[in-house]
Symmetry: C2
Subunit: 120 residues, 2 copies
DNA sequence: AGTAACTTTGCAATACAATTGCAGGGCATT
DNA sequence: AATGCCCTGCAATTGTATTGCAAAGTTACT
């Protein structure tokens, strides 16, 4: 079952929500899906994206992520026209300088706008 | 009532969730709060921050935001130790280069780690 | 002051995502 | 066969976000 989920995720060009997966992969219980994703996330296989649409979305981790840390610091793009979220693996998140005594562990950059498909 | 909310927000050093406000400002109905914040947001007085904690948080807009666009592109810092979210108004979000035909309207950068208070 | 029009507020109820508890099924090891 | 472990699915709960509606307040006009 997990293989099916992984398979499905690999086919996606964009990040998908739990509900997306639930609808596309019937029959599959939402809770199982939830736990599957959670397991994947804990083991560094997928990353979670909060795009402001209300629901978390998920996508396969490209790089050398592990259970302790996510390393693929790419930008996510949320299209406010089609409501889809894309991973932009080639666009890296720049370092940021923080005030004294702040320790950065992760960073997430979400760009919102209109995606290539919707600008046509 | 809105003045009270605005007042409260101005006093905050960190971003607050609806629940935070509800608890701090009794008696005040959650729905009224929700709509108040929504109005503020639409008029560019506050900005919404999704820090991955599950609930949206809000903070006063520092700069020249208006109903059409938010202009204060500062970084937000989420401390995974104390679960608080801080605005870092001095840390600007750098421009990012997008693939062809992507149009950027907004960008949000969340850094996660340990805040100054928690590193002590 | 009186009233009509509009706005703001609060209660109730709903929608939806996230999460937990529990029991059954599969599979491996002994 | 019995034990133990993990995966799955159903039911139920929590929590946030949101809407509908009616009452209370506000404003503008007379």
């Amino acid at each position: 079952m997990r293989l099916l989920v992984l398979d499905f995720l690999e086919k996606q060009s964009k990040a998908v929500s739990l509900t997306d997966m639930e609808l596309s992969m019937e029959p599959l219980d939402r809770v199982t899906l939830f736990r599957t994703i959670k397991t994947f996330e804990e083991h560094g296989l997928v990353h979670r994206i909060e795009d402001g649409s209300g629901a978390s979305k998920f996508a396969i981790c490209a790089a050398d992520c592990d259970s302790t840390q996510h390393h693929d610091l790419h930008v996510h793009f949320y299209c406010s026209h089609c409501n889809e979220t894309y991973c932009l693996p080639k666009t890296h998140i720049p370092e940021v300088e923080l005030p004294a005594n702040y320790v950065a562990l992760e960073r997430e950059l979400i760009v919102k706008g209109i995606c290539a498909a919707c600008t046509k």
